[in-house]
Structure formats: structure tokens, C-alpha cells
């Protein structure tokens, strides 16, 4: 059974029809990527999954449970972490407090500390800036913080919206390594990336989305080789 399943989802922003009957599946243990050009509806898809925008039609299931109408924090409690587009870190909280918020669901201090340790391992820069206010960090540093905060949740499925944006090349590589590592450890991943090349290389399967509709879905390898895809997204 699919871990996460969207069935014929329609989402609107006021009068704008952003998702037009979108259906995707993510199986446990998979890395699935969603690619598409600007404004295709990638971010909207992730936002709809975690209830930040509502599907007006269609259903969303997580581990067999209908989550379409659940509230965001309840959805998150099921083990769905979302690292949103544009970082969205808490600007007036310190790095440490931002990370703590990532593990809000747990009371276990041990878990929190371990999580923070791990985040610092991935991103030593964060450790250097442990008590800096999130809002004064550089763009890339904020991106690291946002990803680290997402990891704090120890989610069953991690949804990343353009995690490589604004990161130095060396860190982009690292992000993909982290994705692979997390996946090896059993985390399912739904990845939205502009860097389709790398995304497809890291993923098992991929969906191509265009103006709110899935126009292609296949193995990542196949998609990577697909001339149409190369033409449209890889240049």
C-alpha cells in the first residue's frame, strides 16, 4: 500500500485553479521527486498535503488514513515533515530555539538533544551560530536551518521544497548525500527540486507536473533519459 496517496486533488487560490486533479503516490522507503517549471504547482502540492491549502476536491491518504480535512498540526503529528519553500524559519527565535520547535511534539529531552547534535553534524555552521537570531542569518544559513529543523521531527515522510535553493555547490552535494542517507535509514522522501538533474539522480521515481496536472510519471532513470524532459527542464 502506498504510504502517501493523492487522488484527483483540486486546489484553488481564490479563483485560481492551481491543482487540477492531481494524483500521486509515494511508497514507503521511496525517494520520489516532483519536477516542473515555475508555477506548475509543486509547492502547492506539498502545501495541500500538509493542509496549509485545502483540497477542494479529491482525497489525500497517509498510511491509509484520510487526512484531507485534518488540521496541519495533526497531519504533522502523524509523521509528515514539510520543509517549506522560502525557508520560513522563525526570525526572532535563536537557532537553538528554531531547532527545538522542530521537535515540539516530543517531551523527551534526550530525543531533542540527539536531534540537535545530529543537525550540527550535518551543518557545523549552525553550531557556530547557536544563539544567533534566525532572521539575521544569511540566505544559505537559513536554508540549512530549515532543513535541520525539518529533520528534528524524525518524520516518517520528509517533504522538501527546493532544499538546494541558495546553497553553495558544496552544500548542494551534501544535501543530496543527506537525502540518500536518511532514505537508507528508512525515511520516505518527497522531493521538489528545480535542480532536476540531481533530483532525478537521487530519486527512485519522479513525476512531472505542468500547470497543475501530472503529465508524466516514471522511474527516475527513465525520466532522466526522456528527451522531452531533458528538453523542458534540463536544458
Amino acid at each position: 500500500m502506498a504510504m502517501l496517496e493523492l487522488q484527483n486533488v483540486h486546489t484553488y487560490y481564490g479563483g485560481i485553479h492551481a491543482l487540477k486533479g492531481l494524483s500521486i503516490q509515494v511508497n514507503p522507503g521511496e525517494v520520489v521527486t516532483l519536477i516542473g517549471s515555475n508555477g506548475a504547482g509543486k509547492s502547492t502540492t506539498l502545501k495541500t498535503i500538509c493542509g496549509q491549502t485545502r483540497a477542494r476536491e479529491g482525497k489525500i491518504f497517509f498510511e491509509g488514513k484520510d487526512i484531507t480535512q485534518m488540521r496541519t498540526h495533526d497531519i504533522a503529528l502523524l509523521g509528515i515533515a514539510h520543509v517549506p519553500e522560502g525557508r520560513r524559519i522563525f526570525p526572532k527565535l535563536t537557532v537553538h530555539e528554531n531547532l527545538e520547535m522542530g521537535a515540539f511534539f516530543t517531551k523527551d529531552k534526550q530525543v531533542i538533544e540527539e536531534g540537535i547534535e545530529r543537525a550540527f553534524q550535518y551543518f557545523p555552521r549552525l553550531k557556530e551560530r547557536i544563539s544567533q537570531k534566525g532572521g539575521t542569518m544569511s540566505g544559505g544559513e537559513q536554508q540549512m536551518l530549515a532543513i535541520a529543523r525539518g529533520l528534528m521531527m524524525k518524520p516518517k515522510i520528509l517533504m522538501l521544497d527546493e532544499p538546494s535553493m541558495g546553497l553553495a555547490p558544496i552544500l548542494v552535494e551534501q544535501i543530496f548525500e543527506i537525502i540518500t542517507e536518511l532514505n537508507r535509514e528508512g525515511t520516505t522522501i518527497l522531493l521538489v527540486e528545480q535542480n532536476a538533474n540531481q533530483a532525478l539522480s537521487a530519486a527512485h521515481r519522479g513525476y512531472v507536473i505542468q500547470t497543475g496536472e501530472i503529465i508524466l510519471k516514471d522511474d527516475a532513470k527513465t525520466l532522466l533519459a526522456n528527451p522531452q524532459v531533458r528538453e523542458a527542464y534540463l536544458a
Binding site: 519536477i35 517549471s37 508555477g39 555552521r125 540566505g139 535553493m165 541558495g166 552535494e173
Partner: protein, 258 residues
């Protein structure tokens, strides 16, 4: 003489030195890239040039004249404009109006003129509108002229920001990660576009970007910052092969970039 010159710029945030003794020269009509790891101080450098931060030390010269200590709006009216790493559009305004705001400092209507809607003001307004629209056409987003800026997808917002910046009629434009959030194909388009800007509009361009394809393909000269210091400068070729740059910033994959 260099068009823009930064001499020994230093910026500290408490104990943190975000820029230390950064000196660089920008020639008229050039495309210069500022690159470096995250948190190296690139955006901070832009912020000092455009008057958002006042440097603790150092001097900024435009055509040999100091512009240090001027407010951002004063600097803008001296012909230096920018885009932002985190897009900052006027979300509730339409795209066209956003661009028209850019024309602001070149308009002269005063309160009385507006009140009495004089012929001069009417003409000026219409001109501004036409100019803004032409700019949007030029940037390729004329079709969204009447949409609210806040509801546009990311990529279009970036272009709109550039159009808005161009509307101030700058001589120098500072682009902070213009291709962030764009897919490779769109990045190529952006590269072409920036090149065009320089060629057709006679602009001097300084840009920050982490996409090495864009940086290497576009820039004539590159400055590398790390921990607030300048660690290297040179042509793309020189930078690509600079071992300290590779180590601090590029990583192995960068050498694959053509």
C-alpha cells in the same frame, strides 16, 4: 577609473565579522560575480553598497565620489539598484504598478500638480505607465501586467523584480541570486537575459549566484569571499582552478561544469 570602488569595507555584527577589509573595483560595462560559501558575506557586501548597512570601516566610491553613509533611496537615485535574495515585491500592487514604483524617482509630480492633475502630470504618468509596460515586455512578463505581484510564482517574481530595478534607470544593477528557484533551462534563459542587459542597456552588473554554470558562463571577473574576507579574484578560468576556492566553495562537482 573604475565606476564603482569598494575600499577596505568592514562590517561587524557584534563579535561576528561579516565583511573584513573587502576591496574591489568594478569597471563600467562589466559583469562581475561575487561568490563564496553560505554566510561568506556576499549579501552583506551588497547591503553596504546599496546603503542598507553602514560599513564600520572603509569607503565606497561611485565615479570617485564617496557614497558611504547615504540612504538607500539616495543611492538608488545615483543609479545603483538591486534585487533581493528573498524577493521583496510590493505584494498587493499589480505587477505593472510595481514597475511604475521603480520609475518614481525620475518623476517630478508634486502634491499640487497631482491635485490639479496638470497636463504635465498626466503626461508624465502616461509616460511612466508606457515605460513600465515596455520594461515588462522587455523582461518577457507583459502578460501578467495586471496581476497582483504576491500571487505570482517564484520565477516570475524574480523577473518582475529585475524589471522593477531596471525602471530606476540604473547604471549599476546588483543581482542577488537571480537564478535561485529556477530550473536549469530557466537558468540558461536568465543567463542569456543578463548578458543582453549588459549589451543592450549598457549596464554594469554585479551578481551573486551559487549556480556555477551561470557564474562561469556570464561573468568577466569573479571575486570570492570566505568568512568575510576576499580569498581570490580573477577570471572564471582562474577561479575554477583555484584550489582554495575549490576547497572552500566549489566542491568536486564544480570542476565538471563547463
Amino acid at each position: 577609473m573604475a565606476l564603482l570602488e569598494a575600499v577596505g569595507l568592514t562590517k561587524k555584527f557584534g563579535g561576528l565579522v561579516a565583511n573584513q577589509d573587502v576591496t574591489l573595483k568594478i569597471d563600467k560595462g562589466s559583469i562581475t560575480a561575487v561568490i563564496g560559501p553560505n554566510g561568506a558575506g556576499k549579501t552583506t557586501f551588497f547591503n553596504m553598497i546599496t546603503g542598507f548597512y553602514e560599513p564600520n570601516e572603509g569607503e565606497i566610491l561611485l565615479n570617485g565620489k564617496s557614497i558611504k553613509g547615504l540612504r538607500p533611496d539616495q543611492i538608488a537615485s545615483r543609479g545603483i539598484t538591486r534585487t533581493f535574495q528573498n524577493i521583496r515585491l510590493f505584494k498587493q500592487m499589480t505587477a505593472l504598478e510595481n514597475v511604475m514604483v521603480g520609475v518614481h524617482s525620475r518623476l517630478s509630480a508634486g502634491i499640487m500638480g497631482i491635485l490639479f492633475n496638470t497636463k504635465r502630470v498626466r503626461e508624465e504618468e502616461e509616460k511612466a505607465r508606457v515605460e513600465a509596460y515596455q520594461l515588462m515586455e522587455y523582461v518577457g512578463i507583459a502578460h501578467i501586467a495586471n496581476e497582483a505581484a504576491g500571487s505570482l510564482p517564484y520565477g516570475l517574481q524574480r523577473r518582475l523584480e529585475i524589471a522593477r530595478a531596471l525602471a530606476t534607470n540604473p547604471q549599476i544593477i546588483l543581482l542577488d541570486e537571480p537564478a535561485a528557484g529556477m530550473n536549469p533551462r530557466e537558468t540558461v534563459e536568465m543567463t542569456e537575459f543578463i548578458r543582453l542587459l549588459k549589451k543592450e542597456l549598457d549596464l554594469t552588473i554585479i551578481l551573486i549566484e551559487h549556480d556555477m554554470k551561470l557564474v562561469m558562463g556570464l561573468s568577466e571577473y569573479i571575486h570570492v569571499l570566505d568568512y568575510g574576507r576576499k580569498i581570490a579574484e580573477g577570471s572564471p578560468e582562474q577561479i575554477r582552478n583555484n584550489p582554495s576556492v575549490i576547497e572552500a566553495y566549489l566542491g568536486k562537482s564544480a570542476s565538471e561544469v563547463s
